[in-house]
């Protein structure tokens, strides 16, 4: 079996500098928001209480961060050990995605100094889906870093710490499979109380099922996406054979998702709305085309081992899941007479969080044994760029 190793290499590159600058811009804007209020930075209103930060930083970003969850189910619950090399990078991306989602919520809620009320039983309102989501995401952020702790311990820990962490690993793994099942489904349910305010093409009591199944798909898609990017960027050997097998899972889950969604529409007599709902029809159809595309692209085994097709299918899957969530929160949701489009400040803060995520990921894969090094990189370029790969594997 392969061992993971730190990638090494310089911390100051064009990518890290750009992401650091974007992070600093975000920090300045967040400070401005704290001093002058939400209205000074965002276009939020009493017609659109949720904006880009909830739609992207919470709904979309945490679904993008389902890689760790999806891979943990596959490797530890369905015992597919062959995919083990993909778990660590997926976990790391998940840890960043969720943590930053959690932090961004703290800036989004208006009375953040009361945020701790969420975690104390005497404030708890058990009928609130928001409470379930908040507690679950909060707990999962901690679990993700605990799941990642053995990786940090491998670099800095003592043998006793390492042994202990490995022995109890099954507990955070099991919790880490339970919590996203709960909150990713509840994120869908979150819009059910809004009732008629969500367009009937999206509003359904099956929102939890649709949200969860699409989130797991997005988890596998992000593993393929990141795997492809890392292979390309760090000139590492192709993982297409493994990614191809994972892509097969996406096909199965997507067929389930699409069947549930369309049968539900037909059952509720809403099929006519697909074509007669103006701008809603446009977004609905676009979303569904993006969902169907990966099914078609990944239907044949030949396509599944083709890195380019795999990549395109993964991107389509990610866009489909992202648009599904964006549509649900900001487009299908609407209060008559109100309009919302995010401000530059809102967008820059979201961009800043994404930049911080990328920056953190790069720093971590260079510092900690995240990426598997089972085939040492061959071309001279990668050796020059990442000399410590060789040094570590030779040990």
């Amino acid at each position: 079996m392969s061992k993971a190793a730190p990638l090494g290499g310089p911390f100051i590159t064009r990518t890290t500098v750009i992401t650091a600058i974007l992070t600093l811009i975000m920090a300045a804007l967040l400070l401005y928001r704290l001093v002058f209020g939400l209205g000074a930075v965002t276009n939020l209103s009493n017609g659109y209480g949720f904006g880009l930060w909830i739609a992207y930083d919470v709904f979309i970003s945490t679904a993008f961060a389902c890689g760790g969850y999806s891979m943990a189910i596959l490797v530890y619950i369905f015992n597919k050990g062959e995919f083990h090399p993909l778990v660590r990078p997926a976990l790391l991306a998940s840890a960043f995605g969720y943590s930053l989602g959690g932090i961004s919520i703290m800036f989004d809620i208006g009375r953040y100094w009361n945020a701790w009320h969420l975690f104390l039983p005497w404030w708890a309102n058990t009928t609130s889906i928001m409470l379930e989501v908040a507690c679950c995401i909060g707990a999962y952020c901690c679990v993700l870093w605990i799941e990642f702790a053995p990786v940090i311990a491998e670099r800095w820990g003592t043998p006793a710490i390492r042994k202990f962490l490995t022995k109890i690993a099954f507990i955070p793994i099991a919790v880490g499979c339970l919590l996203p099942t709960m909150h990713q489904s509840s994120l869908g349910s979150l819009l059910i109380p809004a009732g008629y305010l969500v367009h009937p093409l999206w509003q359904t009591n099956l929102l939890p099922v649709l949200a969860l199944s699409s989130a797991i798909c997005m988890g596998y898609a992000i593993v393929i996406f990141e795997g492809s990017l890392v292979t390309e960027a760090y000139h590492r050997p192709s993982e297409a054979h493994m990614l191809g097998k994972i892509s097969k899972l996406i096909v199965g889950l997507l067929v389930f998702y699409l069947a549930v969604r369309w049968v539900n529409l037909a059952y509720a007599g809403k099929l006519g709305l697909v074509l007669t709902s103006g701008k809603y029809s446009f977004f609905f159809i676009m979303e569904n085309v993006l969902f169907v595309l990966p099914v078609i692209l990944l239907a044949s085994q030949r396509n599944r081992v083709n890195p380019q097709i795999l990549f395109v299918a993964a991107v389509s899957m990610l866009l489909a899941g992202a648009f599904y969530r964006l549509d649900l929160v900001l487009i299908a949701y609407g209060r008559p007479g109100w309009h919302y489009f995010p401000s530059i400040g809102e967008i820059m803060i979201t961009v800043g969080f994404v930049a911080l995520e990328i920056l953190g990921y790069i720093v971590c894969v260079r510092l900690f044994p995240v990426l598997s090094s089972h085939h040492p990189a061959k071309d001279s370029n990668s050796v020059r760029r990442a000399p410590r790969v060789a040094a570590t594997t030779n040990k």
Partner: protein, 323 residues
Amino acid sequence: MAVSRRNFLRGAAAGGAAAACAAAVTEPAAARENLQMPPKAVGLLYDSTLCVGCKACVAACRDANGLAPEFTTDEKIWDTAVDISGKTITVIKLYTDGTAKHKDQEKDGFAFMKRSCLHCVDPSCVSVCPVSAMTKDPETGIVSHEPADCIGCRYCVVACPFGVPQFEFDKAFPKLLKCEMCKHRQAEGKIPACAEVCPTGATLFGPMTALKAEADRRTSTAPGVPTDYMRKTVDSTDVHERPNAAYVKHTYGTTEVGGTQMLLLSGVPFEKMGYPALRERSYASEAETIQEGIYGGFVAPMALFAGLLFMARKNTKNHGEEE
């Protein structure tokens, strides 16, 4: 061994997914019904045909609740709140059509309409608030908001079918505002300020049963018949007579999302006045039924967790041996 376990798990996963679908689609036997009106519930009856748009209620509301006038024009010489907002919790809006010459007429007419919290019998805001900052009084049914508890997540703003909770987006330390039916005045034996000052009795305060009976009396009386209209409270002796108005034959708030504790009467269809046609089942009851179906007694999550622990333990051992 591995095959049988996989099959077992596949079966379990499929079963779990099917159960979740079934819980979400079909109404479980223990579906959460709409909440019922508390027996001693109090409320308001607003009759659009009596309202003259004087906005005495808006001014009185500001005074009673410590709210400064709101300006939307450059010259600050009128209180020009155009809707409820972070600065205004009740407002009188104007409907107009065509030449707008005839009061309470849909075509070529105009009409006034009150906007403030409807104090739902089964309020979404109370159901969705994660920290119990929104509460419904079990006696009076008044829906209140406690800023000291609120985290400002605005889920109530998103979920309210009527767009009532108003958040102060322009402040660094914002609060949420909504009408609390002057519960502080009621505690002193007074009635809500809007009903107290209304010169025509367009806004009446009283027990819900009496308000409903009064609304029924008005809608069931033929237009033009001389009718007594009380001021301030539904049992008041301060009455004035006028020909009964041509009402829409529906009292808004009797059925909508399970009923509200502000009832509305109007000569112009409610949809034209900013009050959408809504079904009788409350959204809160539907959402809570689904959540209860999935999380009831925390049985399903715990069963899933037990299975996950078992499999994760077994499989991490295997991985340990491999490495």
